[in-house]
Amino acid sequence: MIRQFFERIGLEGALMKQAPFLLLLLMVISGQSLLAADLEALPEFLRSDPFGTIVASDRGSADLASSLYGAQHRVMLTGCRGGYASFQVVVKIRPAGLYTLDVTIPDPSNKVQIDLFREWFHFTDSDKHYYPDALIPVRATYSSRLPEPDNRIQQQTAQAFWVDVYIAPDTRPGVLPGRARLKASGKITTLPIQLTVLGCIIPAEDVVTIDHNSYGSSWLAQQFAGSYQRNSDHWFEGDQFLELIHTYHRVFYEHRGIFHQLGYGHSGKVGPEFAPVLEGSGRAKHIVSWSLYDRHYGPLFDGTAFSTCRRGPRPIPFVYLPINPEWPASYEFWDEPGYETEFVNVVSEMERHFREKGWTHTNFEVFFNHKKRYKGFPWDGDEVRFPKDLKYFLEYGRLLKKALPPDTPVHFIFRADVSWNMEQQFKILNGIVRLWCCGGGILSFYRYAPKMLCDRRDLVWYYGGPPSVTESSSAITEFPLRAWLWGVNGYVHWLTVSPGEDPWFHFDGGQTALVYSGERFGLTEPIPSIRLKIQRNCLQDLALLDGLKGRKPLDSLRAEAARSYNNSTLDDWWNPRPALADLPSDQWLGSAIEDAASHTRHALRHPAASAWYNVHQYALSLQAEAK
């Protein structure tokens, strides 16, 4: 091997005699270069793998890398107040070794704050590659070594960090210097940073509500098994458990989202923390204890659960009620006087309790999630396919009306998650259902619907699921953008807390997770993900864009955002009404729906990693114009 090397560089012969010396020299020289330590900044949309290469799905936008740098290799950040500017730094060390990273933007007024996160590299079984997603909070000065011991990646030479720069609403506009500094291999590498704080303030209110849904609580015991096992007999009634639920609400709230936890199963079993305790039957049925319910929900309904948040305390805007066909009335009495009596009496008690507590800022959702295929009840509450099932909705509408005082300040809202049959439900359940959560594919056939529903003061969300980490970094932004372009009020990620059996070393891609348990890192709370951060930053931009509608027509803002995003037109975001829309919904075929949605699927497929960067630049350019 050494001989071949010398032959190749033409040093065979006499010099071969000096081989031992030359070899030593070579090792020293190469050692110098191999001991290199480097610090690189990347925009939020370019994700690095553990070897310092941009992941394949973002690589098509690799030219974005230079967008972050100004003169003298300075990282140039620009942000509005009341929100975050984000970027990434990548530590590269060859060979393995110790390092210390610190990132600072000193601000004597403490209005500008830095949150530093180490990015976890997940190995995805589907394509046998590493992707960063989970974000482990670390101190602004972080010391470790490569390969990172807990991530266990042989030959790891790069560690990426997510940097959130929080800019408080009352920060003084101007320029702040900062730096990222790496100490490794006996040398210090510094990357200068310049933060420009613009005068604009990101509206506190979001233009679209992004919901992060979940089911029950048993997953918490699995994901925080250490905590659960220490007190398994009483864990589900303990303060630690309830506080853990609150931390989930907080992580989504801090990322401009909301969190839902459905508290009952498909046959009506209600988790104890989701409902007051009932006793009796028929006329005698009543609430005997609010204790656990109030400990769970009280801080969420009065906002005190969020008192430590940067966004400030605020009551949660939406919550599922435990109401289902088996609660509070027993299904044994369905269609009998006893069912009505039990339902009306208990729901009336609930209204009274909420009113007396002053919980009047939350929408309490009456929502039926069951499907008949799960064998609990004979009608579909979720995604009605058979029109005959609608009579049950009408009956619950009647019962609810009877239970609630007409002038109640408590906001009960009847919600329906609709797909096949939505067009008929919009008509038949007009005035009963006020929150429509629509399947996105089918809603795309009915371009008239958002305006029609919003005009009658209904709320309209649509639903889907998070993109896999294997998709481009901007894929997560398609959902909020679509909601805004469509003119609907929100979007629901149907499941966001279920990262699979082994997200750390055998990841399923994260299509049911946007947060992870922090327990393996010694934390008693969830940790966020890159996708959640990018979604938050997208929501900031949408709020900014929408805030300009007084100066520019909303349609023109939307059209330009769509063009910036993926060179699409607003028409591309809708499908033509298909012939099947005029058939009864129980005659539709799933494959026909897929065919009918092919226009949007082709027009919008695979947004590039740079897609949201372009919209962000558009939003910032409008701010400059407005100034």
Partner: protein, 196 residues
């Protein structure tokens, strides 16, 4: 000590292999006795003719259908006659009240033309069953179910730790065994299981 250890180990293994329930003996016996009574009464009270009307013809025809472009074809076409369903479900709920502890009574029915397969047709509010794998439209019939359907005899099953199920036949007006009920409970209730 070694001998004592071996004896304990052998006895434990024997118990495990025999499937003897892990409940305390008294609790187990009481629970089995009560559930057996529920199942026995259920066999008389549940109307097999009505049970046979619950699952619609369309649902039966498409239960085993598959389409690579339509992952949920069978589930999306699952449908029931709600009048029959409600009538039987109410009976099952009332039967469960006969037990002095939380219990469910579920209805299972074989699927015509598909020997060895069975479907859960009605579940109840405690969401308990020893045999239902969450979410499945139909499943494989366990041998004890086959025994009930063939012989019309009740069978008690305690093979799953903490659980007791008593399976009992459901007859129609012709005297045929057309289904079975599962009277089920568990010694230690899991208040969060299946809340999803």
């Amino acid at each position: 000590m070694k001998i004592v250890y071996r004896i304990v180990l052998t006895v434990s293994l024997m118990f495990a292999m025999l499937g003897i329930p892990k409940l305390s003996p008294d609790a187990s016996v009481d629970m089995e006795r009560e559930l057996d009574a529920v199942a026995r009464i259920g066999s008389v009270m549940v109307d097999g003719d009505i049970c046979q009307k619950i699952v619609t013809q369309r649902a039966k025809e498409l239960m085993f259908a598959s389409d690579p472009r339509d992952e949920f074809l069978a589930g999306d076409n699952y449908d029931v006659d709600d009048v029959s369903f409600n009538a039987v479900k109410k009976t099952l709920i009332r039967l469960s009240h006969l037990a002095s502890f939380p219990a469910d009574v579920n209805l299972w029915m074989p699927i015509e033309g598909h020997p060895g397969k069975i479907q859960l047709v009605i579940r109840n509010k405690n969401e308990m069953s020893q045999f239902w794998n969450w979410g499945e439209l139909y499943g494989d019939m366990v041998p004890q179910m086959e025994t009930v359907l063939k012989t019309g005899r009740r069978v008690t099953i305690t093979s799953k730790q903490d659980w007791v199920s008593v399976l009992a036949p459901v007859h129609n007006s012709l005297g045929d065994v057309v289904g079975l009920i599962e009277a089920v409970s568990r010694a230690r209730a899991d208040t969060h299981e299946n809340v999803k």
